[in-house]
Symmetry: C2
Subunit: 450 residues, 2 copies
């Protein structure tokens, strides 16, 4: 519990490796949780990392590998032979094994699979590789405990014990019929309290939540969260029980999705960490900045079109950043609410109703802000009354349009199967800057007549 | 599983309530999961909602109440007497019970607690109310299964069975000494495979992850995610086992925190849903817009100070939205990376090193963007060479300063115990707009000499 990584610890480990004090290293590392060892390895250079992976036994390293940063794992694995990788895979649960194999190059992949001795394990991995990684099939493991509905409680105890040996956490015992079709479940608690003379068909619960292999990960997460499930069985197209998804994988999935959405909203594509390489950072960030820059060209163009105003109403140009900022902020607020509503499945009612609601809200906010602007422009900025009125009217219009764009774009994207999270951040602020400034100058021209 | 809420379903329920067809209602509702019933009730008006709560038995409604929207729950509970609420509380796990009681007004709270018949349950709830709701103490439940290290495996089976009756999910069996201090754990799997003649002290695992009552929720979530735990025991200051946190509550916690951070980054305070009331929406959104508006006043002021440039270099004013947009986008990118790094505990190394890294990255991005700007300003916008150079140099400076602000502000806030998520969204975009425009005109004045 009290494990804490530190510079001193890393230096100590590096020293032990250099001096090849394998005994001390093993003594220290074998006492640590695999997630802690992974944290240490993530801080070492490739040679040292490989040294430790080769030093520890494959039961331990299989788990360590799973916890490494993807980049580091790729590098470490490239230092191992296909046989060595297969030995690691042999020790992993099928879901982890499939994730690792999926990361390998096509050529190595086949070699590794050919080197797995446990034929059933290899077949299971190949089966899992078929599914999309963000679907129930891609998230599930083949390991689970199941009993036939026709067995007796005592009769299946030894069978269950044997199955349980291969399963990290038992959770539920699934009940299947002779054709391996999912019929229900048996909780460990029920088993603990059931009379030993009972038949499975007498005691099992016929109601069981399940998902299909192609159910999207988001939906699996939503169901497991809603019903407080710790594992959910997965069936194939014919209703056959083919695996189960456990909550630890769903926790990771939820966290990753949340991180991705958060970064997307900030204009950072791909799931990137604070310590990612500088080129990865540029790749994730620059495209959005280029988008914003191109959007900026458009605002320059639009503003330039109203150059005539400069002689008489030059002050209008002082307000463009304010108008753009308000348009951007309102748009981001609206789109964030929509994106979250879509993700959490809490949106009800038609698009029109939702839009009217958002416009009503914007009108209310806009009126209050316009009031503040009127006062501020006169008393704080010392502007003429007519300028204040012009900007205030524009502000209300801009806010309404910005919230409309923020509402409609995510819903439309979602409708066409595109991730609405794309519509937050730079995308919305840039398009709202453009619309906002165009509306502002158009209204100003109409009122002031330049 | 296939439960899907629909307008027709709600209308059907409303009809059954109106006609007081209690038998049909009970038949339908008792077959549903409590989370599904809650989804239905969230769509009904208060009278209908109360009708259903009073119709169902308290074992069912206790669970339904937990799943309701907080606003709706508050309303429904205000329609129940203290005795009725106490009856519901009686059926809940201590953690849920404490959450509900904490939402009640001081006066009702005492009445409800006084009406709880199970004295131990009442005491447990009062104990839980003492802890901060976002700490391990606030997230834990008192229900757990524990055995004394001095017992034998067979000897404690009946005791465990009895304890298990009160616990929804068993997960781990905790091992304590005579003073109730946490010593280790016993997995259900170990129990299933242990020889019945063994002593607890022979078979239990001495290594056990735990947290303290005052450990923050984020830290509990991080530990449970890192070590793939489904439950973690909580000890008090003296090492006594006082409760446990289960993964379902942590999943909800992670989701809520992610939603809150996402909204914060979009300038929406408080955890608000897409269907929240319009006044709640205004309260959550308007303050950030006012902040942005006031920031806008400052940009107007700054721009106004460079009015002299208008006669000769009026075109400079066309570029202010572009400069502001770039400053805002870069600042949000930097701060999002920092906020996430802090939240995920992946930041290593000193502030200076991190800052240099970020500045290096900004310089790289800035140079590329400046190049695009130079070309664009000349060929797309037809501006004079000197204007392009001026804006390009300003852009690089603005980007570097914006990323510096985006990096330093979250780290500084975090250092002083303030949630760094506050520093994303409008806060960063507004301050970067101001700095960006100031830098832009200052550099322009220096180069062009107006």
């Amino acid at each position: 519990m009290q494990f804490q990584i530190s510079k001193e610890l890393i230096e100590k480990i590096e020293q032990l490796i250099e001096q090849q004090h394998n005994k001390d290293l093993l003594l220290y590392l074998n006492d640590l949780h695999h997630a802690d060892i992974a944290e240490i390895i993530d801080e070492l250079d490739l040679d040292d990392a490989t040294y430790i992976i080769k030093l520890l036994n494959s039961e331990k390293t299989a788990e360590v590998l799973m916890e490494l940063d993807e980049d580091n794992r790729e590098k470490v694995l490239s230092n191992l032979s296909a046989k060595e990788i297969a030995d690691e895979i042999e020790e992993m649960d099928t879901d982890d094994a499939a994730d690792i194999v999926a990361e390998l190059s096509e050529e190595i992949k086949d070699q590794v699979i050919a080197n797995i001795e446990d034929e059933e394990h290899a077949e299971n991995i190949v089966e899992l590789l078929r599914y999309d990684e963000d679907s129930a099939g891609g998230l599930m493991a083949k390991e689970l405990v199941k009993v036939n509905e026709n067995w007796s409680v005592t009769g299946c105890m030894s069978e269950m014990r044997e199955q349980a040996e291969n399963v990290t956490r038992v959770h539920s015992i699934y009940v299947v019929d002779n054709k391996q079709r999912l019929k229900g479940r048996l909780s460990l608690k029920d088993l603990l309290t059931a009379p030993s003379s009972a038949q499975i068909s007498d005691v099992y619960i016929k109601k069981v939540d399940y998902v299909k292999v192609n159910t999207p990960g988001e939906e699996v997460a939503r169901i497991m969260q809603k019903y407080d499930l710790e594992a959910i069985p997965v069936v194939n197209e014919t209703g056959k029980l083919v695996g189960r998804v456990t909550i630890d994988d769903i926790v990771d999935f939820i966290k990753e999705e949340a991180d991705k959405d958060y970064q997307m909203a900030a204009g950072i594509s791909e799931d990137i960490e604070a310590d990612a390489g500088i080129l990865d950072m540029v790749k994730a960030r620059l495209p959005w900045l280029i988008l914003a820059l191109l959007g900026g060209f458009v605002t320059v163009r639009i503003t330039g079109n109203f150059e005539d105003a400069m002689t008489k109403y030059g002050v209008l140009f002082f307000f463009t950043p304010l108008i753009a900022a308000m348009a951007g902020n309102v748009g981001v607020q609206s789109s964030a609410i929509m994106v979250q509503g879509i993700a959490n499945n809490t949106l009800r009612g038609s698009l029109i109703k939702r839009l009217l609601r958002e416009i009503g809200l914007s009108l209310l906010n806009g009126l209050i802000l316009a009031g503040i602007l009127l006062l501020g422009s006169h008393f704080l900025l010392g502007q003429a009354y007519i300028i204040g009125v012009t900007v205030a009217i524009s502000l209300i219009s801009v806010i309404i349009i910005a919230s409309t764009i923020g509402t409609v774009v995510p819903i439309t994207l979602h409708k066409y199967g595109i991730d609405p999270a794309l519509a937050t951040g730079p995308f919305i602020t840039t398009s709202n800057d453009i619309c906002g400034i165009l509306i502002y100058f158009t209204i100003a021209k109409f009122i002031l007549g330049f």
